[in-house]
């Protein structure tokens, strides 16, 4: 037996190397205190990692070595080492961190502290808080512009997108949007900021130059009460052609053609769809479905749901690790 295993070992190495044909999708399970990892080739959960209490927002470091996890009820941001699946250390995050965004400098993490109406800026290298900024009631969505100039916090009960100047770490402006803003996303050219409003049922497209709303997107799905159409997570494709808007308890994802700014498709997914992640090739979209406890895989070219993958309880955030960065 021993002899056989020695013989076989080079083969295993080759097989492992070629196995990294697929990306890994990290999904936070809010009510299981775990992260599920999905292989995009087999479309199956390949491992489940224990993390802190009530994990919600997750984001990868720019060098793809770490996953930052908002462990909301542990009042901390955990740093998960992707090579070992162990928590390396915890960052001082302020109370109840929900979502965050990493600055392009790979150092400054902007964290929304939902219970305290503040945003905390943490230096992930020195592991210190470098600023805390007063924002509106229930800060939620976080975004940093691609040029690193702006950090955006949305506040759910104040109904604003707050503009933070990242050089000075001060709040400089506010844009009033519709009820209960959730997610914020910059377009790749940083000319537009998109903000979804869950209860307002809209997406506000804001001109970054003037900080004024230039367009409001509305959604209507046949046979579904407008009360249930509640925009939450958003993903914009890098080619600038499409935008995907998760519509919460309507159980659909809207597809917006950005050349006409019209909704071209509503894709049925699992129950209460929250957040999403696009693969590096932009050909697959993974949605977290909170109530049904699964992930829907959408074929971006066909605009069709092609697979449902069971994960943990109340999947919330999603982040995709490109195959070339998969450890081992």
């Amino acid at each position: 037996m021993k002899k056989l295993s020695i013989l076989a070992s080079p083969l295993i190495v080759i097989w492992l190397a070629s196995a990294a044909q697929a990306h890994w999708v990290y999904v936070s399970n809010e009510k299981d205190d775990t992260i599920s990892v999905i292989d995009t080739e087999t479309q199956e959960v390949i491992k489940t990692i224990d993390v802190g209490e009530r994990p919600r927002g997750i984001t990868l470091s720019r060098d793809f070595k770490y996953l930052y996890v908002c462990a909301s009820d542990s009042d901390t941001v955990q740093v998960l080492d992707l090579a070992t699946d162990r928590i390396l250390h915890e960052l001082p995050s302020g109370e109840d961190p929900e979502q965050f965004a990493l600055h392009p400098d790979n150092r400054h993490l902007y964290i929304a502290n939902e219970d305290d109406a503040i945003a905390t800026v943490v230096d992930v290298e020195s592991r210190t808080v470098i600023a805390q900024i007063d924002v509106g009631v229930e800060p939620e969505g976080m975004a940093v512009s691609h040029d690193g100039k702006w950090a955006i916090v949305t506040s759910e009960t104040t109904n604003m997108a707050h503009w933070i100047d990242t050089d000075e770490q001060v709040l400089v402006d506010n844009t009033l949007v519709d009820q209960r803003p959730r997610d914020a996303e910059f377009t790749l050219d940083d000319k537009e900021l998109w903000v979804s409003s869950e209860i307002g049922g809209t997406v506000s497209v804001i001109d970054v130059e003037t900080k004024q709303i230039k367009q409001t997107l509305n959604f209507a799905i046949d046979g579904i009460s407008s009360d249930r159409v509640q925009p939450v997570g958003m993903e914009l494709t890098r080619d600038g052609k499409l935008a995907f808007i998760a519509l919460g308890p309507s159980n659909h994802v809207a597809v917006v053609d950005r050349s006409t700014m019209e909704v071209v498709e509503y894709i049925l997914v699992g129950r209460r769809v929250w957040h999403m992640a696009l693969t590096p090739e932009q050909d697959r979209l993974y949605t977290t479905n909170g109530v049904s406890g699964d992930v829907t895989v959408i074929d971006v070219n066909e605009l069709k749901a092609i697979k449902t993958i069971k994960v943990g309880r109340f999947p919330w955030g999603a982040a995709i690790l490109p195959k070339e960065h998969i450890p081992g």
Binding site: D115, G136, S155, T157, T158, S225, D227, P249
Partner: protein, 401 residues
């Protein structure tokens, strides 16, 4: 925080006026200062059997204060400042007299947390004629119907809405035969009436309709008395109309047939409860507990929603004029995000805040209503409560046929 105590010489009346604002936020630094008058009189609560039943003495008041705090957090980005002036009238005090003093001089924004009979007593005062009043304390259906007033909106759900919420759930569960027990207090009669009307509306049958007559101490006798009182061949659910919780809790698990209990105990229809935690509600709950050191009640929620409605109108219109606030909150543009999973707005034909109604037991939400499948041409939320075609309210500028 400034505070002054105000008493009249009149016997039986003692009112406390409090002015609260967020610390460190001087009104002078704001462009727009918004004052809300809060008038409270806790209802008379006769003794009940259980020593465990109780109501917070600041029921409703803490909700208004949280609404002010929420409005100010938003307001600081818009140079708006909100304050509440609290007038607290003792249970046996003269609430109209206190309201007259509090509402004197110009149009005002008012939150009322007073018993059923006092709402229109205040709304009809000459001092209140130009005011915009939010009723956050009375569930009386008549105030949203034939007795409605042009200057009164309602953020607390009516008994009719609560009854409809229960009946929708019974319909879904196919509990079609009901056993109703009505208590002996005025509120119980109104709630029982709402339950009968709602059962009729949803074509459920109240096959047994009894008034609670037992005056034995149920703390000792429930296991002997309740089975006999509820003896019947068949029923699917027992409904209890017992708003003060005098006897209802003792009915549970002692019914002749092993059936669920609903109404004032068991499965309760409420505006709010500490068990509501979906739809971001956990954040509101934790903000409230931090402030009030107790859990949030339906009246707290209604007062909070009233103050937040004002905040929303002022933010969107950039005006604190009572007329502008009224126009905006009754318009199609208004919507309030209020942690129950659907946007809320006011029925502009009777002033009621349309809202989902959670059905709860003490430890969890049983179901959120409207129950899926009950459809409506305007919004599914209008399947709860008196609907426009049957409404007798004409004061809001609508005519009945």
């Amino acid at each position: 925080m400034t505070q002054n105590v105000w008493r009249t010489g009149q016997a039986g009346l003692a009112a406390l006026v409090l002015l609260t604002a967020l610390p460190g936020q001087a009104a002078l630094s704001s462009d727009l200062s918004v004052e809300i008058i809060y008038i409270e009189q806790q209802p008379l609560r006769p003794p009940v059997l259980s020593n465990l039943v109780g109501w917070p003495e600041d029921d409703g008041r803490q909700g208004a204060r949280l609404g002010i705090a929420d409005n100010n957090t938003t307001g600081k980005f818009l140079r708006q400042n909100y304050q509440v002036q609290e007038t607290i009238v003792e249970t046996d005090g003269d609430v109209a007299e206190a309201a007259r003093a509090a509402l004197d001089g110009g149009a005002k924004l008012v939150v009322l947390n007073v018993p059923d009979g006092a709402v229109n007593l205040i709304a009809d005062l000459p001092e209140a004629a130009d005011d915009l009043i939010f009723n956050a304390g009375s569930a009386d259906s008549a105030l949203r119907d034939a007795e409605c007033r042009a200057n009164v909106l309602h953020t607390l759900p009516s008994r009719a809405m609560l009854a409809d919420a229960l009946m929708q759930f019974f319909t879904k569960r196919r509990w079609s035969s009901l056993f109703l027990i009505e208590g002996n207090r005025p509120g119980d009669a109104k709630f029982a009436e709402a339950l009968r009307a709602s059962a009729n509306k949803f074509r459920l049958s109240i096959d047994h309709d009894k008034t609670w007559t037992e005056d034995a101490d149920m703390r000792r006798n429930a296991a002997q008395e309740v089975p006999v009182f509820t003896q019947a061949d068949a029923y699917d659910v027992v409904l209890v109309a017992d708003e003060d919780h005098d006897f209802g809790h003792y009915v549970l698990y002692n019914t002749w047939l092993p059936r669920p209990v609903a109404g004032s105990t068991g499965i309760e229809a409420v505006a709010w409860s500490s068990v509501v935690e979906q739809w971001g509600a956990a954040q509101l709950q934790s903000r409230f507990v931090k402030q009030a050191e107790r859990s949030m009640t339906s009246r707290d929620y209604a007062a909070w929603a009233a103050v937040r409605s004002v905040g929303e109108a002022v933010t969107r219109t950039k005006s604190a004029a009572v007329e502008d606030v009224r126009d905006y909150v009754l318009s199609d543009a208004f919507s309030l995000a209020a942690f129950k999973g659907a946007k809320m707005s006011f029925r502009n034909w009777n002033g009621q805040l349309r809202q989902p109604i959670p059905l709860v037991h003490p430890r969890a939400v049983v179901s959120l209503t409207p129950v899926e499948g009950f459809l409506h041409q305007v919004t599914e939320l209008d399947t709860l409560g008196i609907d426009e075609p049957e409404s007798q309210c004409t004061a809001m500028g609508r005519t009945t046929e």
